[in-house]
C-alpha cells in the first residue's frame, strides 16, 4: 500500500526526512493515522453494503489488500490522492505558519 516510512520524497516534502528518528516515527504514525481516516471515509463512499460486509469478514491483511485493489476502482490513485492531499495541506499551513 503506501509505506510512508520509506517514502523519502514525501518525507522530504513535508520537511521531516532529517528529523531525529524518534520524532520522525511519531510524526509518521500521526500522518498514517490521518491518512487512514481520510482513506476510510473515501472508500466508504464507494463500497456497497455487500462489499462492506465481505470486507469486514476478511481476516488476513494481504487478502484485504488484494480485495481493495481488486474491488475499489483506482484504489492506488485514491491512496496517492489522499497522501497528496495531506502533503499539500501540510505545506500550505506550514508556509503560512513557519514560512
Amino acid at each position: 500500500m503506501f509505506d510512508i516510512e520509506n517514502n523519502t520524497e514525501f518525507l522530504t516534502a513535508i520537511g521531516i526526512n532529517n528529523a531525529p528518528e524518534d520524532v520522525k516515527a511519531k510524526l509518521i504514525a500521526g500522518i498514517e493515522n490521518l491518512a487512514e481516516k481520510k482513506l476510510i471515509t473515501r472508500i466508504s463512499d464507494i463500497v456497497t453494503d455487500e462489499q462492506a460486509e465481505h470486507f469486514g469478514s476478511i481476516t488476513d491483511e494481504q487478502e484485504a489488500a488484494n480485495w481493495l485493489n481488486a474491488n475499489i476502482p483506482n484504489f492506488q490513485d485514491i491512496v496517492t490522492e489522499v497522501l497528496t492531499e495531506i502533503k499539500n495541506d501540510i505545506l500550505q499551513h506550514k508556509a503560512t505558519v513557519v514560512g
Partner: protein, 1105 residues
C-alpha cells in the same frame, strides 16, 4: 401503497353512519407523488379505522386528531416563527454588521466608564461628561442604524451591489470614525475589525487580479513543470516546492491551464514556464567585488534592520556588511521585500556606506583624540598626554577614580513569552473546538451527491473561518506560545546571557584593577571596555545561538506538524462522527476501524492502537447464560416476526451451548411458547407477560436478591435483545460472533499496552474491552478511563445498534464486576452510570423521571421492568430503544449467571481478588453456521475447531434445530402472506387482538426498521434509478438519521422536542427542497411542514426507499 388500497383494505360498511363520516372527512385532494401518478387521499385514508371501531368512535377519533393536529400546527407555527426570529437575530449578531453594532455598543460602554471615572476623580465636570456621552450615544445609534440598514440591504441585493454598498458604508463609517477621534480616540475593536475587513477585501481583489491577469507565456519560454491544486491547497506553496522560488517567481512563472470541475472540489491546473536568462530581473550588482553573504525577506511588521542585525551582528546599515533590496513580491496579502546582504571585500578600508553619510563606525578611536596636558600643570587625578599614569603624581587622590561597572548589558536574543498571545491562542483554540462539529457536519453533508446551495455556501464559509483560525493558532504555537520547547530554548539562552554578563563583570573588575572604588581607569574607559566586552560576548552568544536556532527551527517544524496532525485528525474524527447515520460509510468505518487486518491492509506501516478497540456490535449477545436461554426463546419470537430476527434466534442458540444455569425456564415452557408462536395468532406481548410471570416469583428476600432482580430484567431484556439482534447481527461475521462468545466465556488477559494510548472511537468495543479485561475489579478504573474517552453523545446514539448495545454491555460488565448493591459500587462507576442514564433520557430511550440521581442499578431495573414491556410493544416503530434495553437486560442477565459473582451481599462490598474460576466447558456439537454465512462444501468453517462449547442442560441441540426449522417455515408463510396482501395495506393493530393482518403489517414495519438499520432483507427489491425524491429522502436521512426517520414516521412522537428538531432540519434545507416538500404539505391540506414531511417521508419510504 395508495390511498385506494388503504380504503379497500378496510372494507368499510355502508349506510351505518359511514356516509356522514365520509362526507365530513372526505376533503379529497389529488396528489402528484412525483412518480407520475395522481392519487386521492382523505382524512380517513391517513388515519385508517381501527379494527372493531364504530363510526361514532372513528369519527370522534378523527375529530380529536384534527383538533390536536390544529393545536399542534398552531404551536408548531409559533415555535417556527420564534425559531426563525432567533435564527435571524443570531445570524445578524454573527454578521459583520452585527459585530459592528456590538462594537459600537461596547465603545459606548467603555467611554461611559471612562467618563464616570474622570468625573469621580474630579478631572471633568458631570455636565461635560454628559455632553460627551450624549454625543457618543448619537454616534453609536447612528452606527447601529447604519449597520442594521446595511444588513437589511445586503439580504435583498445581489453580491456586486452588495459589495459596493458595503464599501460605501465602510467609507462612510471610516469618515465617522475619523471625526470621532478627538472624542473617543480610536476604539481598538473597531479598528481591528475594519482592518480585518479591509485586509480580506484586499486579499480578495488581489486574488481576483492574480487569477484574471495571469502572465502570458512568452513565446519560446520553456515549459518547466505542471501541477494541480484543489481548494485549500496553495498554488504558491506548490510553486515554491517545485521551483524553489516565491510566488509569482522570477526565473519561473506559472500560468493557469483551467480547472477540472468533475470532482467534489474544482482542481486547478497550472503550468510552470522558465524565462530566458535575458528576461530575468537582474539583481543589483554587488558593489565592486563584494561577496554575497546571504538573502532575507521581510514583510510588513518585520524590520529589515532587525533581520540584518540578526544575520550579520551589525547595526543597520552595517560596516562589514550591507544590504540591497532587489524586489518586492506582491503576490501575497502583504508585500514581501527581498534583500541581499553583501560582505565588503575590504571592510577595514571601506568607505562609509551609510547612504546618509556620517561618522566613521563606532569603536574606532580617533588618534587625534586624547587627553591634553593641562597647561603643563599636573592636575590631581590627571594622566599624562599619552594617557599613561604620571608616576610623579602624589596628590592625595592619586590618579584613582571611582567608576561604576553597572549591570551586564548583554540582552537575551530570544523571543519572550507573550501573555497576550497566550490568551489569544486559548481564545482561538476554544473557537476551533466550538466550530469543529459544525464544520464536520457540513463536511459530511457536502460529501453527498445532493448538496444544497446553502450547504455549499455554509461549508465554504465555515471552512474558510476554520482554516484562518487554525493557521493563526499554528502560527502562535510556532512562535512558542504554550510550547515547552521554545520556552526551554529561551530559558537556555537567558542562562547563557547571565553567564556572559557575569564574565563581562569579572573582566571589567580585572580591567579596573580589582577595585572599582579606587581605580586608575576613567568611567569613559570603563564604559568603552564594557561596550567592547559586550560586543564580544554578543558574538559568542550569537555563535552559540546559531545552533540553538537550528534546534528551535527543528522544534518549530516538528511541533507545527504535530499540532497540525492533531487538528487534522480531530476534523477527520468529527467528520466520521457526522457521517455516523447508519449508512454504508458507517458500516465500513466500523469494520475497518475495528479490524486490525483491514487496517493493516489500509496502512502498511500499521497503527497498532485502534486495532485494539474491538467490536461493539451485538455484544449483548455475548451476555452469558441467562440471556442465552431466554434469548433463544426471544429468538423464536423474533423469527416469527421477520427474517432478520432469525439471526437473533440462531445467535441465542449459539450462546445457549455455553449455558450453565437454566433453572428458571423449563424446556417444556419454552416449547410451549414456541408452539404459541408457531400459531400466527400469537401475540408477542403475551410472551413478554409470560416472561414476567416466570420471573416475578423469584425470591427477592435472600442474599442473592439482586441477582434475582437482575434475572427478571434479563428475562425481558434478553428477549428483546434476542429479538432485535436480528436487526444488527447482519453486520457481524460468524467468526466475530464466535469470538465474542468465546471472549464472553473465557476472558482474555488484559493487556495494558493495548489500551493505554487508544483513542477509542465512539462506543465501539467497550464490551469487548471489558471482557478482555477479565472483569477484574482492579481494572475498573482503567476501564472507566477508557470509557470516558468515549463521548457519551456518540456512545449512546440509538440510531446505531452497535453503540447502544455496547453501552448496554458496559452496564452489564459493571454489574458483573460489582454484583452488590449500587451503593457499594465505586463513586466513579455510579457517576458514570448516572451520566449514561441521563443521556438515555435525553435520547428518549427512557423516561426522564428515571434520571433523578437514583442508583443506576435501580434505574436499570426500572428501565427494564417498567419501560421495556412498553418498548416491546412498540418495537417495530422503535427498534432502537429496544436494542438498548434488551442489551442492558441481556448483559446483566448474562452477568448474573456467571459463577464468579455468586456472592452474598456481605461479601459484595469486599474487593474481588480471586474470582471463582469459570467451569470448564463441556465439548459440544460443532457450531452451526449462522444464517447467510453457511460454509460451502469443502470450505473451512468460520468457527475455529478449538472453540469450547458447553452442553445445554435443558434444551438439546436437536430440539433447537427442530424448532428453528419450524419457525423458519412460519416466517416464510408470513412472508408469503405479506406478498399477497401488500405490505402496509392493513389498518393499525391493537395490542391485545393480533390478527394475520397485524402480523403482516408488523412484518412490513419490521422490514422498514431493518432497512433503516441497514440490514439486507433480500434480493427481491428491483434495482431502480434514483429520483429526486430519493435524493431528498437520502438527504433527509443524512440529516435526521435513522432515529429522525423513526420519529417522524411515527404518530406518537409528535412532541415539542421532535418538532423543534424538524424545525432545525427544515432550516437547513435549500429553497428547492423546501418547495418540493411543501407540495406535499399543500396537497395534504395541512399548514405545518412537520406533518406534511412525515407523510411525505412515509410515502417515500414505501415507494422508493
Amino acid at each position: 401503497m395508495s390511498g385506494e388500497a388503504v380504503r379497500t383494505g378496510q372494507e368499510q360498511p355502508q349506510n351505518n353512519g359511514w356516509d356522514s363520516l365520509t362526507n365530513e372527512f372526505a376533503g379529497e385532494r389529488n396528489i402528484n407523488d412525483k412518480t407520475g401518478k395522481d392519487r386521492t387521499f382523505s382524512q380517513m385514508d391517513l388515519y385508517p379505522r381501527m379494527k372493531g371501531e364504530t363510526p361514532e368512535e372513528y369519527g370522534a377519533r378523527l375529530r380529536y386528531m384534527n383538533q390536536e393536529t390544529a393545536k399542534y400546527l398552531e404551536e408548531e407555527a409559533r415555535k417556527e416563527q420564534e425559531e426563525l426570529e432567533r435564527q435571524r437575530q443570531l445570524e445578524y449578531e454573527r454578521s459583520e454588521q452585527g459585530q459592528q453594532e456590538a462594537a459600537a455598543e461596547s465603545n459606548y460602554d467603555r467611554l461611559e466608564a471612562k467618563l464616570e471615572q474622570a468625573v469621580s476623580e474630579g478631572r471633568m465636570t458631570r455636565e461635560h461628561a454628559n455632553r460627551l456621552l450624549e454625543k457618543q450615544m448619537d454616534k453609536a445609534i447612528d452606527a447601529i442604524d447604519a449597520a442594521r440598514q446595511d444588513y437589511s440591504d445586503r439580504q435583498t441585493i445581489g453580491p456586486e451591489e452588495d459589495q459596493i454598498k458595503y464599501n460605501e458604508w465602510l467609507s462612510k463609517h471610516d469618515a465617522e470614525n475619523l471625526n470621532n477621534l478627538e472624542i473617543t480616540g480610536r476604539q481598538d475593536a473597531e479598528a481591528e475589525e475594519r482592518a480585518r475587513l479591509e485586509a480580506e477585501e484586499r486579499a480578495r481583489l488581489e486574488a481576483e487580479e492574480n487569477t484574471q491577469s495571469q502572465p502570458e507565456t512568452t513565446s519560446g519560454d520553456k515549459e518547466f513543470a505542471k501541477f494541480q491544486v484543489a481548494s485549500g491547497v496553495s498554488k504558491e506553496a506548490e510553486f515554491k516546492r517545485l521551483t524553489g522560488e516565491d510566488w509569482p517567481g522570477e526565473k519561473y512563472y506559472a500560468v493557469t491551464a483551467g480547472a477540472d470541475e468533475g470532482y467534489d472540489e474544482p482542481i486547478e491546473n497550472w503550468t510552470i514556464y522558465e524565462r530566458p536568462a535575458s528576461e530575468i530581473t537582474q539583481q543589483p550588482e554587488a558593489i565592486s567585488e563584494d561577496e554575497v553573504f546571504g538573502h532575507f525577506q521581510v514583510a510588513s511588521g518585520v524590520s529589515k534592520e532587525a533581520e540584518f542585525k540578526r544575520l550579520t551582528g551589525e547595526d543597520w546599515p552595517g560596516v562589514e556588511y550591507y544590504a540591497t533590496c532587489y524586489g518586492v513580491d506582491e503576490g501575497y496579502d502583504e508585500p514581501i521585500e527581498n534583500w541581499t546582504i553583501y560582505k565588503r571585500s575590504n571592510a577595514n578600508q571601506a568607505p562609509n556606506t551609510d547612504p546618509d553619510g556620517g561618522d566613521k563606525p563606532d569603536g574606532e578611536k580617533d588618534p587625534s583624540d586624547g587627553d591634553k596636558p593641562n597647561d603643563g600643570e599636573k592636575q590631581p587625578g590627571s594622566n599624562t598626554a599619552d594617557g599613561e599614569k604620571d608616576p610623579d603624581d602624589k596628590t592625595p587622590e592619586g590618579n584613582k577614580n571611582k567608576v561604576d561597572l553597572g549591570e551586564g548589558d548583554l540582552k537575551n536574543l530570544e523571543v519572550t513569552i507573550d501573555e497576550d498571545k497566550t490568551e489569544r491562542l486559548k481564545e482561538i483554540e476554544d473557537k476551533l473546538e466550538a466550530m469543529l462539529p459544525e464544520l464536520a457536519e457540513l463536511y459530511a453533508r457536502n460529501r453527498r451527491i445532493f448538496v444544497g446551495a446553502k450547504n455549499r455556501a455554509d461549508f465554504i464559509r465555515v471552512k474558510g473561518e476554520y482554516a484562518k483560525l487554525l493557521d493563526e493558532s499554528l502560527k502562535l504555537k510556532a512562535e512558542g506560545v504554550h510550547r515547552a520547547g521554545q520556552v526551554e530554548i529561551s530559558e537556555k539562552i537567558q542562562n547563557r546571557v547571565d553567564e556572559l554578563n557575569q564574565e563581562i563583570q569579572a573582566k571589567l573588575l580585572e580591567f579596573v584593577g580589582g577595585d572599582p572604588e579606587n581605580t586608575e581607569k576613567t568611567q569613559e574607559e570603563v564604559d568603552a571596555e564594557k561596550a567592547r566586552l559586550t560586543e564580544e560576548a554578543e558574538k559568542t552568544l550569537r555563535a552559540e545561538y546559531g545552533d540553538m536556532v537550528k534546534e528551535l527551527e527543528a522544534n518549530v517544524s516538528a511541533n507545527f506538524l504535530s499540532n497540525y496532525l492533531d487538528e487534522a485528525v480531530k476534523l477527520e474524527d468529527a467528520t466520521i462522527d457526522a457521517l455516523d447515520n447508519g449508512t454504508i460509510c458507517r458500516k465500513f468505518v466500523n469494520k475497518v476501524i475495528n479490524n486490525k487486518y483491514l487496517k493493516g491492509a489500509l496502512i502498511a506501516a500499521g497503527v497498532a492502537g485502534l486495532a485494539a478497540t474491538g467490536v461493539g456490535l451485538g455484544m449483548g449477545l455475548a451476555a452469558g447464560t441467562m440471556s442465552v436461554s431466554l434469548g433463544y426463546t426471544a429468538g423464536g419470537v423474533a423469527l416469527g416476526a421477520g427474517k432478520g430476527a432469525m439471526m437473533g434466534g440462531l445467535m441465542s442458540r449459539q450462546d445457549s451451548r455455553n449455558s450453565t444455569v437454566r433453572g428458571f425456564v423449563s424446556e417444556e415452557d419454552i416449547k410451549k411458547q414456541l408452539e404459541g408462536i408457531n400459531n400466527q395468532d400469537a401475540d408477542t406481548s403475551n410472551v413478554t407477560s409470560w416472561l414476567l410471570e416466570q420471573y416475578s416469583g423469584a425470591n427477592t428476600e435472600d442474599a442473592s436478591s439482586n441477582r434475582r432482580k437482575t434475572a427478571v430484567a434479563a428475562g425481558i431484556g434478553a428477549a428483546l435483545g434476542g429479538l432485535v439482534s436480528g436487526v444488527h447481527i447482519d453486520n457481524v461475521s460468524t467468526r466475530e460472533v464466535t469470538e465474542r462468545v468465546q471472549i464472553g466465556t473465557e476472558p482474555t488477559k488484559y493487556e495494558p499496552d493495548l489500551f493505554d494510548n487508544v483513542n477509542i472511537p465512539k462506543g465501539h468495543g467497550m464490551s469487548t474491552t471489558f471482557d478482555q479485561m477479565g472483569g477484574d475489579p482492579s481494572n475498573l478504573q482503567k476501564a472507566l478511563d477508557i470509557a470516558h474517552k468515549i463521548d457519551p453523545k456518540y456512545g449512546m446514539v440509538p440510531g446505531s445498534n452497535g453503540e447502544t448495545v455496547g453501552v448496554g454491555g458496559q452496564i452489564g460488565e459493571f454489574a458483573h464486576t460489582y454484583p452488590g448493591p449500587i451503593s457499594e459500587w465505586p463513586d466513579v462507576a455510579q457517576s458514570y452510570m448516572t451520566e449514561v442514564a441521563e443521556e438515555w433520557a435525553r435520547q428518549g430511550l427512557i423516561p426522564s423521571h428515571m434520571t433523578g440521581g437514583e442508583p443506576i442499578y435501580d434505574t436499570v431495573t426500572r428501565v427494564v421492568t417498567e419501560y421495556v414491556p412498553n418498548a416491546f410493544m412498540n418495537f417495530l416503530t422503535r427498534a432502537t430503544a429496544t436494542v438498548g434495553a434488551g442489551a442492558i437486560g441481556g448483559r446483566i442477565g448474562g452477568v448474573g449467571e456467571r459463577p464468579r459473582i455468586t456472592r452474598s451481599e456481605t461479601e459484595a462490598s469486599e474487593p474481588i481478588t480471586n474470582p471463582e474460576p469459570i467451569p470448564e466447558p463441556t465439548p459440544g456439537p460443532a457450531p452451526e453456521p449462522i444464517l447467510g454465512g453457511a460454509p460451502t462444501a469443502g470450505s473451512t468453517p468460520e468457527t475455529p475447531p478449538s472453540t469450547p462449547e458447553a452442553t445445554p442442560t435443558n434444551v438439546t441441540q436437536e430440539d433447537i434445530d427442530s424448532k428453528l426449522a419450524e419457525l423458519e417455515e412460519a416466517m416464510k408463510a408470513a412472508e408469503a402472506s405479506t406478498s399477497e396482501t401488500g405490505a402496509g395495506s392493513t389498518p393499525e393493530a391493537t395490542p391485545t387482538n393480533v390478527t394475520q393482518e397485524d402480523i403482516d403489517s408488523k412484518l412490513a414495519e419490521l422490514e422498514e426498521a431493518m432497512k433503516a438499520a441497514g440490514v439486507e432483507i433480500g434480493d427481491e427489491t428491483p434495482e431502480r434509478i434514483p429520483t429526486l425524491a430519493d435524493s431528498i429522502a437520502e438527504d433527509f436521512r443524512d440529516r435526521a438519521g435513522e432515529e429522525g426517520v423513526a420519529i417522524m414516521t411515527s404518530e406518537e412522537y409528535i412532541n415539542e422536542e421532535n418538532s423543534a428538531r424538524i424545525a432545525r432540519w427544515w432550516n437547513t434545507l435549500d429553497e428547492d427542497t423546501k418547495r418540493e416538500i411543501s407540495q406535499f404539505e399543500m396537497a395534504l391540506g395541512t399548514s405545518g411542514y412537520g406533518r406534511a414531511l412525515r407523510e411525505w417521508i412515509r410515502l417515500n419510504n414505501q415507494n422508493s426507499l
